[in-house]
């Protein structure tokens, strides 16, 4: 199994347009999605990112820190998953309810490099 990162991109107020019923269904679908991945052993971790923070740039000589939400689209969270290959990772991403319930969701699917083969270096992972 290989590791992939799903970066969920969307508008900051991505759930604002949902009605009470839609929100309930969305929550249920999210739970089902997460539970299915966990049961299949494909979910390493998944967390939303709190809607606060900064983007820093510059250098020690002069720092620039701007708001995390300067652009219309922000990263609202991530899923760290296991899949056999990119195609499977993409299939998992397509099942994410965010796509069905909101208009502007975009999911970035990226393989994670765990070993730098040429020098046989294991990238560190937290416990």
């Amino acid at each position: 199994m290989k590791e992939f990162m799903l970066l969920i991109r969307n508008e900051q107020d991505h759930l604002g347009a949902l009605s009470k019923e839609e929100l309930q269904h969305f929550l249920q679908d999210c739970m089902d999605y997460i539970n299915k991945l966990m049961k299949e052993g494909k979910l390493k971790s998944a967390q939303p990112l709190v809607k606060e923070g900064k983007i820093i740039s510059g250098s020690k000589k002069s720092w620039k820190d701007g708001p995390f939400n300067e652009t219309k689209e922000i990263i609202i969270g991530y899923y760290h998953i296991l899949a056999k290959d990119l195609d499977e990772a993409i299939a998992i991403a397509k099942d994410n309810p965010e796509l069905e319930y909101t208009k502007h969701a975009r999911i970035e699917v990226r393989p994670i490099k765990s070993v730098e083969e040429s020098v046989n270096f294991q990238y560190p992972r937290g416990s």
Partner: protein
């Protein structure tokens, strides 16, 4: 420190209004078997408010309070060592970080809060719980009353109230009921219990005060607020009994201000200053009375509300339409022939047919066990004797009444009547 009092007042006010809502929502989240947990979390949030606000009152105290309660609720759920079982069907939304935030927003939305308060009312009025315990539980969870306050309201000890609450919560746990508004036939039955409980609550506040006037009036306000929540809720389609109860409570409440004199003694109706009546409450009462008509027949609330409306619409005591009131009591007797109704009817009877008829009526029921310790029986009897100029008999009754009356405000009135009888004899 005036800042300190200001904060305490703010917190008291908030507590009254918001704690009921928060307990209802948290009970939805934790499940009804964990009502005590919901109460604890809200209590913790309040304590935190008191300690933090001494330095800095937040811009939006209500939002602050809700945020703290939400966070504490999440901490409770996430605690591994917490071995509680949650039957609630919504708890799993709070176990995944992806669904927590939108779920919490959803649970704490205005609509859900309103629905949960209704669900709470039905849960507290679960049939297995005794009616004393039902009222105590509603006051504690929905109305934000403390145990000492409830004890004072019921003229009993904190220990008694505590026992009732513990029993009630255990009954709910044992019953394993879902947190919901019942449907169909079950709804009609349970709604009757809810209305009874609300009426009980109202009467606790309405009967003569023991000096804690402020708290007693608050009970009436709470009862009215709870009934209004029901009458305006979409889940309940047949509102006629609730509207009738609301009419009754509002019409009675509109006349509160005139009931006591400046020394806190009760005034008889003929001595009350009708300019003190609250016309806006009265108008709301009449509104609900008009809208309480139903194809399914009338309840005793309908009749009592109609009787109250006759008192409200009389410009003075002597213009009261006693004939209509008497015939309403006759109708009431058909549904409810309890001794209290019979007693109250005799007052109307005395106005229509004279005191001697009323005295004769009372003779028929005087041996009823309910009246043995009931001071109002003897004071009513005394009034009829006074109207019939039979002063020695009146004094006899008044002395019995004074011995049985437990509340200062009533004793004051009775003593006055006794004194005026003595004057008539000498």
């Amino acid at each position: 420190m005036s800042n300190h009092t200001e904060i305490n007042q703010l917190i008291d006010h908030l507590f009254r209004h918001e704690s009921g809502k928060m307990v209802a929502v948290l009970t939805r989240i934790f499940g009804p078997e964990n009502i005590d947990l919901a109460e604890d979390v809200v209590q913790d949030a309040l304590v935190e408010a008191i300690s933090q606000w001494t330095y800095n009152i937040p811009q939006n105290p209500t939002a602050w309070l809700y945020k703290v309660a939400k966070n504490k609720a999440l901490n409770v759920i996430n605690r591994d060592k917490y071995k509680r079982k949650y039957q609630s069907d919504v708890i799993h939304f709070l176990k995944s970080e992806w669904t927590i935030e939108p779920a919490m927003d959803y649970f704490f939305s205005d609509q859900e809060i309103a629905d949960d308060q209704l669900r709470m009312m039905f849960t507290c009025c679960y049939p297995a719980i005794s009616s004393d315990s039902q009222v105590a539980l509603i006051l504690k969870t929905l109305c934000g009353f403390s145990i000492p306050e409830i004890a004072r309201a019921f003229l009993t000890t904190e220990d008694t109230i505590n026992k009732r609450l513990v029993r009630a919560r255990q009954n709910i746990r044992d019953a394993n009921i879902p947190f919901e508004v019942p449907a169909g036939e079950e709804l009609d039955k349970r709604l009757d219990t809810v209305l009874e409980t609300i009426y009980l609550l109202f009467n606790e506040g309405y009967s003569a005060s023991s000096g804690d006037k402020l708290i007693r009036y608050e009970l009436c306000e709470e009862a009215i607020r709870l009934a209004e929540m029901i009458v305006s809720h979409h889940a309940i389609s047949d509102n006629s009994n609730t509207a009738a109860l609301l009419a009754l409570m509002l019409l009675n409440a509109s006349r509160f201000a005139s009931r006591l004199d400046r020394d806190g003694n009760i005034l008889q109706m003929q001595d009350q200053d009708r300019t003190l009546w609250d016309l806006s409450l009265m108008e709301r009462g009449f509104y609900y009375l008009r809208n309480s008509a139903s194809a399914n027949g009338i309840s005793s609330y309908h009749i009592l509300a109609a009787i109250s409306s006759y008192h409200c619409s009389a410009p003075d005591f002597n213009s009261t339409d006693w004939n209509s009131i008497l015939s309403l009591y006759d109708k009431l007797l058909l549904i409810d022939d309890s001794p209290i109704v019979i007693l109250n009817r005799t007052v109307a009877l005395s106005k229509v047919e004279g005191p001697l008829q009323a005295i004769a009526e009372l003779e028929k029921i005087k041996d009823h066990p309910a009246f043995k310790q009931y001071h109002l029986f003897y004071s009513t009897q005394a009034e009829f004797y006074i109207q019939a100029d039979q002063y020695p008999d009146a004094m006899n009754c008044l002395e019995k009444a004074i011995r049985l009356a437990s509340i200062k405000a009533e004793q004051g009135l009775l003593q006055k009547r006794l004194n005026s009888c003595k004057e008539k004899i000498t």
